[in-house]
């Protein structure tokens, strides 16, 4: 196996542009895929960002991982149920995900199980312990 792209099946690849691959995978597969990505290129990958989106009917978490030897960005999109958004943390595979996961939890309320520093006001003020401002139903 030479390219990270071969990890994904045809149906999983949503879109492909120059140096961008958008992939939709299931929640259970995410950790395996990330682990394989890191191992495949001997750690020559880094996490650019984790984007959380509230699609009203569901939540989406998108892991943007840059693969240095391939010069390609892989966007791993995972759908989560909106009423109980929960996913296993990847911070043990890529420690750099720690703060990204905290931020997403803080603003959207997506729980990353296994993240050791996950706590509620991370960047929000102390008084906003129960509010998730980036959810679409948040009243401003």
């Amino acid at each position: 196996m030479k390219s990270v792209k071969e990890l994904f099946s045809e149906q999983e690849i949503v879109a492909e542009r120059a140096r961008r691959v958008y992939v939709k995978i299931s929640k259970d597969k995410l950790r395996d895929v990330v682990k394989k990505m890191v191992e495949l290129h001997d750690g020559q990958v880094y996490l650019s960002c984790i984007t959380g989106v509230d699609w009203i009917d569901r939540m989406e978490v998108a892991y943007n991982i840059w693969v240095l030897p391939e010069s390609c960005n892989y966007t791993l999109k995972v759908d989560l149920p909106r009423d109980n958004p929960e996913i296993t943390s990847i911070s043990d595979i890529i420690p750099g995900a720690l703060f990204h996961e905290c931020e997403v939890y803080d603003l959207l309320g997506i729980v990353f199980k296994g993240n050791p520093i996950l706590k509620k006001p991370f960047i929000l003020p102390e008084g906003m312990k129960k509010e998730f401002p980036l959810r679409k139903d948040y009243k401003i």
């Binding site: 958008y22 880094y46 960002c49 984007t51 401002p133 980036l134 401003i140």
Partner: protein, 389 residues
């Protein structure tokens, strides 16, 4: 002496912006560093969703004043990717020129500030004197010293003529000469090298593991530059080197920036010489189709990421911004361990922290931002209440 909790910030001379670090120190040695971020959290990501694509250009610029060109550049890039808008070649070159001027002034700002953090006020004053010349150039091209408002969707907003190009060349050559001297100072001055060498080590493996970006990553010897890896605008056509140093310490991270200044000057001179003729902008596109786009650029502080979800229409559905400092701050907490109190400013300076960048979303501004259109009467009421109680 037992372990003292030393609190750095939110107000501290070594931090030019509000941020708090709790350092557990044993005598002079740092045992643990715990950051608390979010003091300048302005709710910009939420605000993006309320405003139109055109208004958001200027909002993105306000995430960070220092690297404002990088922010607008990434923003217009993400919009152009989502809407398949092509940009005239002259505009691409002009964008590169202004982006590199921005990098110049940002790196000078940092290196000067760091000289000051080490107590070297003279170097700080001299570097900032030269930075002033660069800012005058930015003012000449864009009409303002700092906030440039230069990039727009589908091109740039102002053109330069040959007079301006000559003036830019002249000033840059002078600055280059000065910088060659400063580089010697950074490389050889005994007090600087003693303070920075071997301080705040971040091994290449750790650098990738903790996902640091930009000069911090290159200072750890990893050859990664968005301008080379993922060329945007015309960086693919311009010859330049990716500067890396492999001593992995604070000194390496500073030297990366010193060398990048010289590289940037060459890039600008090359772009000025090869500036194509033609128009500078396409008609403004206000409406985007349903799309998802991911754009990244090399901001002065490292990789800057914008992730856009559009559902069609005038406003973005979700716009995620990942600024370089947010990625670097975790790496910094690793660098602090085992170093001395005296090294804290040096290490913190070496990641070029920009906390306004890092914390993007406060609710306070958002709430006042809701009533963003006040009539004259409302304003009168508001001010008269404020001034005459």
């Amino acid at each position: 002496m037992s372990i003292i909790e030393l609190i750095f910030g939110p107000q501290h001379p070594a931090l030019h912006e509000p941020e708090m670090f709790r350092f557990h120190v044993d005598g002079e040695k740092v045992i643990e560093a715990i950051p608390r971020i979010g003091y300048v959290h302005r709710g910009i990501e939420k605000l993006f969703e309320q405003k139109t694509h055109v208004q958001n250009i200027y909002l993105s610029e306000r995430i960070c004043g220092i690297c404002n060109v990088a922010h607008t550049l990434t923003y217009v890039n993400v919009i152009e990717r989502a809407g398949d808008i092509d940009v005239p070649p002259r505009a691409k070159y002009l964008r590169v020129i202004v982006a590199e001027l921005n990098r110049l002034h940002s790196h000078m700002l940092l290196l000067g500030a760091v000289a000051e953090l080490m107590g070297f006020t003279t170097l700080f004053m001299l570097i900032w004197r030269d930075r002033e010349k660069i800012m005058d150039l930015v003012e000449l091209i864009t009409g303002n010293r700092v906030i440039s408002a230069y990039n727009t969707i589908g091109g740039v907003r102002r053109d330069i003529d040959s007079d301006k190009a000559d003036k830019i060349r002249k000033v840059l050559l002078k600055v280059e000469e000065e910088w060659k001297e400063y580089k010697k100072t950074w490389m050889e001055d005994p007090t600087i090298t003693r303070r920075t060498m071997g301080v705040g080590i971040l091994k290449p493996r750790d650098a990738l593991k903790y996902c640091v970006v930009g000069p911090v990553l290159r200072g750890s010897g990893v050859k990664s530059d968005v301008r080379k890896d993922d060329p945007y605008e015309v960086y693919g056509d311009i010859p330049f080197n990716v500067v890396t140093y492999d001593t992995c310490d604070s000194w390496a991270r500073y030297m990366v920036r010193v060398d990048e200044i010289l590289e940037s000057i060459n890039i600008i001179l090359y772009a000025l010489d090869n500036l194509p003729q033609g128009e500078i902008r396409r008609p403004l596109v206000r409406r985007l189709p349903e799309a998802e786009a991911f754009a990244k650029t090399e901001a002065p502080r490292g990789e800057l990421v914008y992730h856009l979800y559009s559902k069609g229409g005038f406003k973005p559905y979700r716009l995620k911004v990942r600024t370089p400092t947010f990625a670097n701050i975790l790496g910094a907490t690793i660098m602090f361990k085992g170093e001395r109190i005296a090294d804290i400013p040096v290490i913190l300076g070496s990641i070029d922290p920009c906390f306004a960048c890092e914390d993007r979303h406060t609710i306070v501004d958002l709430r006042s931002g809701k009533s963003f259109m006040l009539s004259s009467r409302e304003i009168t009421r508001k001010f008269s209440r404020g001034s005459k109680p």
